[in-house]
Amino acid sequence: MVVPADESTLLAALRSRDEQAFATLVRTYGGRLLTVARHLMRDEADAQDVVQSAYLNAFRAVDQFSGASQISTWLHSIVVNTALMKLRAKRRRPEESIDALLPAFLEDGHHVEQFSEWNTPADALLERQETRRAVRTGIDQLPESYRVVLILRDIEERSTQEVADALGLTPNAVKVRLHRARQALSAVLRKTFAPGVTS
């Protein structure tokens, strides 16, 4: 991605409705935004719809964008929120609780579950073609509000603050959701990669 050398110049051109500026905005940042949308939507047509809707929202909101953050951060936030709206519109049932995927504890604070050794390191597992597919299937099983945080933090590598700003959460809420998402994903993946659990 070739980032415009001067974002303030691009922003000024957008505000003056310069046609070339809009094309620059789409061509410069669109590829990366499409990748984010693909991770969130898991369907190419939906991902492209999200990017198109997000850009329309951005065009309408450009006069309100202060320029305090980078253009890429601003657009990323719009894509995330557009994706979330589309996911909620598609969801037919209320989001399931994550509790069933979290570890259970006895009254004395010990785990209910006895864990097996994780014998094959993740790096070695990733040499197998089917591993990533299994991991993505696991991620897809997470409740949406946890899945989105996991994707934005661990896969998109956005900061806690960026994710908090994009989702309208406190940074602590993002941290808690990320931790629970990882715990839940770990429970799902242990069935495949560290089986033999007893309780």
Binding site: H111, F115, L125
Partner: protein, 79 residues
């Protein structure tokens, strides 16, 4: 420190954000509790697997916006 508390502190332990006394208690529990050692290991491996979950898909669909989508976006821009 109980196993429940240990599980709650994992994320902050991995980012180095535990206060010294809690860090010491966490590491002591790690020494004495094999079940929590295994739990921490699965948590860490999960992070690694999660971070690389989309690498193959992303390689097949590069981060380039298709020209048809560019044109659709520009054509639908409100005037």
């Amino acid at each position: 420190m109980t196993c429940r508390e240990f599980a709650d502190f994992i994320a902050d332990y991995l980012t180095g954000e535990l206060p010294p006394a809690v860090h010491a208690a966490f590491e002591h529990h790690l020494d004495v509790c094999i079940n929590c050692r295994r739990y921490l290991k699965s948590y860490e491996e999960t992070i690694t697997l999660g971070r690389r979950a989309f690498e193959d898909e992303d390689a097949l669909l590069p981060a380039v916006i298709p020209e048809e989508l560019v044109q659709a976006i520009l054509a639908s821009r409100p005037r």
